[in-house]
Amino acid sequence: MFKFLPYILKTLWRHRARTLLTFSGAAVSLFVFCFVVSLQEGLDRLTSQSDSTLVVFQANKFCPATSHLQQDYDRIISRLPGVLDVVPIQVFTNNCRASLDVVVFYGVPPKKLRSVRDFELLAGSWSEFENNQDAGVVGQAVAQRRQLKTGDRFSIGEVTITVAGIFASENQAEENYIYTHLEFLQRTRGLDLVGTVTQHEVVLDPAVDPARVADQIDERFRGGPIQTDTRTKGTFQAASLADLVDLIGLTHYLGDACLGLMTVLILTTNFMSVQDRIREHAVLQTIGFSGARVFSLIMAESVLVSFAGGATGIVAALGVLANSGIAVSAEAVSLALTPSVTLTLTGLELSVAVGVLAGILPALAAARTEIVPALRAA
């Protein structure tokens, strides 16, 4: 087949406007498709997190600004069997509703941060963070979006921090958060929330049943002044994003529509190309090209355009996803849109599949050309 590559490439270039338009259509389709898949992958990553972390929230509260748990609940919870650590967290966000530009501050005891989060500091220092109460470590996605670097002063509302470091995390959703000192966040905005926190994060022994521990926690505080609602971290985050989950589910149809449009576009181009070359295909068959060979030539043209266009769209999407730090947030939970190997491979496979699908009918039409009538065709 490689022997025929010059013929295939030259044939595609013969109608370069048509080929480039088809290529561009394929690129745009896969570009949009990648964003759709990235959104769904982000949601899957968020909601399938390890069950060995629980989030204790105030019962019947949904926005972090309305949840006020006793900070000393951590001592009670830590005594339960199977609990390895409890981290009190104060959450502040500039927007509780769904948005693309939400800034979320997580106030945690500074000494606990490194033990409960596997962050890699890309710039700055942990000691700078731990020794300065108004210091914060910023996720690289936020740093990119807001153009932050170490040493900058950064304000959202009444909260102003000094950037002590920029971190990366294997859990890319974390890169949309800013971590600062718990007490700093409790005292800021003129409020004195010392003694209360938004939530407790409970680290469990992987061997224990998280549902059982969650029930124990809620049972312990039932009937008290502040009742709790405890869930696994994945479930908690899915519930926070509940408004978005259905919408994200609908984007699945958008992705299908992109692929459908791409298929129709390439199919149309292929049919036009075959109709333009009825006589040429008859000449090829006269020379000795079999119907199967003609079929494979048309298929190769189709797959080449589809793959090249699709790959270009994928590369462009990966670039934007990698460098833009886009995240969708709701109720202080962020869903990161990031590139991934799975996304890339899925996109490339679908580009080939679309090329094959869009090539079959035109290729069959060309392969079944009756030679003599086609040679007489104008």
């Binding site: 022997k3 025929f4 010059p6 013929y7 030259k10 044939t11 270039w13 013969r14 006589r279 040429e280 000449v283 090829l284 068959q285 006269t286 020379i287 000795g288 090209f289 079999s290 119907g291 199967a292 060979r293 030679i371 003599v372 040679l375």
Partner: protein, 237 residues
């Protein structure tokens, strides 16, 4: 005998009417013969040519070329057979416009088990035979009509086929260019021993062949078996 045709019949339906351009045609062509087939338009000359070339099938009868009975070969095997045994010279040359002269001539060889070096050698020989080696990198749009037809001839002979068929090879050319093409065909037959079957409605062109046949109401009529030379062509003019 290289080509044996026995009781060949071909019919078409046209506007509710059945037309029989070929009716019980029987014909033998020996290896190395240059045969011209004449007759007015619509008498079935090209139809017979297309049967022998394997791009059309008869309704009855048999065609045997170099020991292979081709009328019952499958579509794919017939394509394979054409690649190995037939060179086709079209009236309108039908070069592939996106390929250079070299690539057009090389096209049949891509279907056969030759490596790149062997393909290059054969293409060079074919281009030399038609005196167009210096135009190898030119595209059809950069060639004259006569040059395009010569490239078409080179493409037809490059794989050293068993038989070369030519369907009105000078039909689209002026007199001077036609003479060039006919001389070339005659030279190929004489120097390479190529078996040639040429369809033409031009008596002058027909006379250069060593054997002339006429198609008359679906049947073959032998016209002349005298050997043709360049002088015969010039005298006829």
């Amino acid at each position: 005998m290289l080509i044996e045709i026995r009781n060949l019949t071909k019919q078409f339906r046209k506007g509710g009417e059945t037309i029989t351009p070929l009716k019980d045609v029987t014909l033998d062509i020996d290896r190395g013969e240059f045969v011209s087939l004449m007759g007015p338009s619509g008498t079935g000359k090209s139809t017979l040519l297309n049967q022998i070339a394997g791009i059309d099938r008869p309704d009855s009868g048999s065609i045997t070329v170099a020991g292979t009975e081709i009328t019952h070969l499958s579509r794919s095997r017939l394509a394979r057979w054409r690649a190995e045994h037939v060179g086709y010279i079209f009236q309108t040359h039908n070069l592939i416009p996106v390929l250079t002269a070299y690539e057009n001539v090389e096209l049949p060889l891509l279907l056969l088990p030759f490596d790149r070096a062997e393909r290059r050698r054969r293409v060079q020989v074919a281009l030399d035979a038609v005196d167009l080696a210096n135009r190898a990198s030119h595209y059809p749009r950069q060639l004259s009509g006569g040059q395009e037809q010569r490239i078409g001839i080179a493409r037809a002979i490059v794989a050293d086929p068993t038989v070369v068929v030519a369907d009105e090879p000078t039909g689209d050319l002026d007199a001077a260019t036609s003479e060039q093409i006919l001389n070339l065909l005659q030279r190929l037959n004489r120097e390479l021993g190529t078996t040639l079957l040429m369809v033409t409605h031009d008596t002058d062109a027909a006379e250069i062949a060593g054997r002339q046949l006429q198609l008359d109401h679906g049947r073959i009529v032998e016209v002349d078996r005298a050997s043709a030379t360049v002088d015969n062509l010039a005298q006829a003019k």
